[in-house]
């Protein structure tokens, strides 16, 4: 490690980057939520947007998955029987995402590449640069459990650059050649660091780890779930009875990738689109005949936990949950992955 960047130079860097990349940065929106959104290119709008960027440890309510897997996406257009593919592909800079969300993206990458390739996702994600800013304080205090899921608060690999907050400046860690090239290209914004950076970085990271208060027995939960005979039906039922099936946990989750497909048409012209779907919805498995193999609330509720903790792990050796805590933070009735883990590891009871 050899570089750092002063915080006051970030805006200038982003202004330059916008010329080459679609640049996604966390921005404060009306109402106060911080969402990751592209910076506009037009000078005046860009200035205004840069005034609203927020690189502190804000809660990005929606995970950045929608950059590569938008909530609603056109798959193709058609007119008089002719099909025109609508695949998006542009260079994207993700500046300031969190380490758990990086894991989420890496997980989704693997999923969309596996077996049949998903042209839409892969095309959107094809050319990208990811700059992680590690969390000094958990953005969702009491819900984040990255240290238990081993996904944060700082990333170990998979990023192009990682910034380590050191007050007035960031230490810059390079994780790939692309990251190195980026620093070289915009070298005017970066400077060599002085002093014992490694020690400083380690101490910042150690402190950040301590700041994540929620600790759960995540590995124990994965081990339990790996056992086919382990079916915590009573616990699923209790969750199923409380869940109001709003879908918030699924929509905000960085690794939930299910979608539905439908056509929009006027006359012989229209589009085929896909839209996020949620396995906890009753209609998710209801067939045309009315037959629904997952016809009870608890069966709908347990799907999500099994998919992430059991089946994803079995298939990829990666847990499908990255510990971001959004499901708990967004749930109106206070259910979430961490609560489920606490339940099955008999750490705490949900009710």
């Amino acid at each position: 490690m050899s570089k750092m960047i002063e915080k006051k130079k970030i805006k200038g860097l982003l202004k330059e980057a916008v010329k080459q990349w679609h640049t996604y940065v966390p921005q404060k929106h009306i109402g106060g939520d911080v969402l990751i959104a592209p910076l506009p290119e037009e000078a005046k709008e860009l200035e205004a947007a840069l005034d609203n960027i927020s690189l502190a440890d804000d809660d990005l309510v929606i995970s950045p998955k929608d950059i590569f897997f938008p909530q609603l996406e056109t798959m193709f257009k058609f007119k008089k029987g002719e099909i025109a593919e609508t695949v998006e592909s542009s260079p994207k800079l993700l500046f300031g995402i969190k380490s758990c969300d990086l894991k989420g993206i890496l997980f989704a990458d693997e999923f969309f590449k596996r077996d049949f390739e998903d042209a839409y996702y892969l095309s959107r994600a094809n050319e990208r640069l990811i700059v992680v800013i590690g969390c000094i304080n958990p953005p969702r205090p009491g819900a984040c459990f990255c240290t238990s899921a081993k996904t944060g608060p700082f990333a170990e690999k998979g990023f192009d650059l990682q910034l380590v907050d050191n007050g007035e400046s960031y230490f810059v860690e390079t994780g790939s050649e692309k990251g190195e090239e980026f620093v070289a290209k915009y070298s005017g914004f970066f400077q060599d660091e002085s002093g014992d950076a490694e020690k400083a970085v380690n101490s910042i990271k150690a402190k950040a780890e301590k700041a994540v208060e929620l600790k759960i027995e995540f590995q124990k939960a994965l081990d339990l779930m790996a056992n086919d005979d382990f079916i915590p039906e009573e616990k699923y039922k209790r969750i199923g009875e409380r869940c109001v099936y709003c879908g918030a946990c699924v929509y905000t989750c960085p690794t939930c990738t299910c979608f539905n497909v439908f056509d929009n048409a006027k006359g012989d012209e229209g589009t085929r689109v896909r839209i996020w779907d949620a396995c906890i919805f009753e209609g998710y498995t209801r067939e045309a005949s009315g037959h629904n193999p997952r016809n009870q609330k608890w069966l709908m509720a347990c799907r999500r936990y099994e998919h992430k903790l059991k089946y994803d792990k079995a298939k990829t050796n990666m847990s499908g949950c990255v510990g971001c805590g959004r499901c708990l933070a967004s749930c109106p009735v206070d259910i979430g992955m961490s609560k489920f883990v606490q339940e099955i590891t008999e750490d705490k009871k949900i009710m």
Binding site: I83, E117, S123, D277, T285
Partner: protein, 283 residues
């Protein structure tokens, strides 16, 4: 445009309906051919696979290929009108366009069936996916031993492929047994659910494989009957149905246990199904 030059699996290819045949009161068989001549000729599939069939502007539905890979150039789909897409397909005529992508899913294990006695047990429209395999067997008849087709439907009017049932009957070493839940006057065959046929003909596990397709409840009772007759789990083969949207392991809808019915299935042995650590209604 996509920088990866790989094929986009979600884009369907146009095909033309060559003929429409009414099979039962709510099902029709559509014979289609890809508009692209090269594609029509080079297209390959296996018995038991399905395709995503669509009308642009209405939507897509997964439908088994009912024609046999041994009969080339065209594809056949036997479709029951039961909802948005399938109703709209039923309104189509000869010369109209359908859009197809696939083939998807695994297939019936043809090689493993060679040299075996085969029991095809179908309920209602469940004969459609089996027909692909049945005709494959009929076109390579010497590779297989005795064949029995046990077919049940609600009423005689619900029976599909009536002409073909007659054809199969006449093929040596091939038996066709029919039953209906509710007969009408002219009905000359058995009455009752398909397992009633056990009373009329031997269902024997020796050197035999049973291939089952139909509604979940029918599969369940047939499986029970087969087990009672002595069939091992691996010798009972079935196709499962699940709500599907993508057909390629991405949309998530069809998952059972850690499997996707669209890519790991739809053909499973009872042995596999039994091992699903599932609480939901599998069959």
């Amino acid at each position: 445009m996509c920088t990866c030059n790989k094929k986009n699996e979600y884009i369907p290819y146009p095909a033309k309906i060559e003929s429409v045949k009414k099979e039962s009161f709510d099902t029709k068989t559509f014979r289609v051919r890809f508009t692209d001549k090269n594609l029509a000729e080079s297209f390959q599939y296996k018995q038991g696979q399905f395709m995503e069939v669509s009308i642009l502007g209405v939507g897509e539905a997964p439908i088994s290929i009912t024609s046999s890979p041994s009969r080339k150039g065209f594809l056949e789909f036997n479709i029951r009108a039961t909802g948005k897409v399938t109703d709209a397909i039923h309104a189509l005529k000869k010369g109209d366009a359908l859009y197809l992508r696939g083939p998807y899913g695994n297939s019936f294990p043809l090689e493993e069936l060679k040299g075996k006695n085969l029991y095809f047990i179908a309920g209602g429209i469940g004969l459609a996916p089996l027909r692909s395999l049945i005709n494959m067997v009929m076109d390579n008849r010497d590779d297989f031993k005795h064949v029995k087709i046990l077919y049940g439907a609600k009423t005689p009017a619900d029976m599909c492929f009536a002409d073909e049932l007659e054809v199969w009957k006449k093929i040596p070493d091939t038996e066709v047994w029919l039953t209906v839940d509710k007969p009408c006057d002219a009905w000359g065959c058995s009455i009752g659910v398909v397992t009633e046929l056990w009373k009329e003909t031997d269902v024997h596990p020796e050197n035999a494989v049973a291939i089952v397709c139909g509604p979940a409840i029918m599969i369940k009772f047939v499986t029970l009957a087969l087990k009672k007759s002595g069939f091992a789990g691996k010798d009972i083969i079935m196709t499962l149905e699940r709500y599907m949207k993508c057909g390629i392991g991405k949309c998530g809808h069809c998952n059972i246990a850690g499997k996707f019915v669209c890519t790991d299935g739809p053909v499973f042995s009872y042995e596999q199904v039994k091992a699903f650590p599932e609480k939901e209604h599998v069959i």
